[in-house]
Subunit: 205 residues, 2 copies
Amino acid sequence: MQFSSSLLENAVNEFSKLPGIGKKTALRLVLHLLKQDTKEVNQFSDVIARMRSEIKFCQRCFNVADGDICSICANSARKQEIICVVESIRDVIAIESTQQYNGIYHILGGIISPLDGIGPDHLHIETLLNRVQKEKTEEIIFALNPTIQGDTTIYYIQKKLQPHPIRITTIARGIAFGGELEYADEMTLARSLQNRLPVEKYVNH
Amino acid sequence: MQFSSSLLENAVNEFSKLPGIGKKTALRLVLHLLKQDTKEVNQFSDVIARMRSEIKFCQRCFNVADGDICSICANSARKQEIICVVESIRDVIAIESTQQYNGIYHILGGIISPLDGIGPDHLHIETLLNRVQKEKTEEIIFALNPTIQGDTTIYYIQKKLQPHPIRITTIARGIAFGGELEYADEMTLARSLQNRLPVEKYVNH
């Protein structure tokens, strides 16, 4: 791409560093910003810079936070005895959007994946065990992606949790709502058969 | 979407104002920036703000420029007698990328479109006529999108240019390279038949 302005070129280059944004999309976004008021573009720019420099991570659950403790941990209306263990912040947002969960979280920051060189020490597992020891935790819910790595991570943490008399569960795996049986892989179909539910429970849900 | 940090939420909201960026994509981009160094994110933010506040428009052709005149107009190696008339900056970048054009440009800033309330007075048509009068223009090449509005704009400007003894051309319309005849619309196919080329000209091209 040939530009007649280095200011434009630099802006396009910065945008095209973002994941999934190519040069043409970057140009479209930059030309859109060029059409907006200077005030609005400054706000865009400020909010991004502030977000990066001021955001913190919750000292308890490693979620993003405006202060030392995130708003979920600080909310006394939520059940502090139930901890949902997830891989990343994105999973917290997905679960919060269902408005069905009223406990708190623990973000591992990844999952055990020896091929990528990620072992248990790279994740917030030790801090989870400390939490279970100190807090009056009654249940740990694993909400990890249903992959071999996810299952390995669950197995590892569950072994470490054995000394503690708490309930350990995982979110249900099965055929997704709206999905079709014939296109489901064997493992999902096999698991959803093994973990079949009584119909009265399903209907009442 | 539910966020545990207002800094994160604001950043996602700002990104999702951009065209074609939904909330989920915005979140992906923001979480990507959150993983980068503060220095890099500040650079991203600075470049965007500077681009908006410092960029200028060429006083001659209305292209984006770092100064009063864009680098294309200022380049004495380019033929100043040939003006390519385009709708937007994006078209200039597309034509420049072919590296086949060595003249200068004139950016209309849109095309005549009565349904959208855009008349000749909203576009840089008067300035184009002034340029033709003052500069030693020999040829005007219209490179507008092949739509009814594009053709209307060409017709209007060409009428206004009649007093001047200059060559007026338009880029060729036809079946795109790699396109398939059977999927071409009737208008394109009809025009490409009307404007057929002698084979020797095509081969030598």
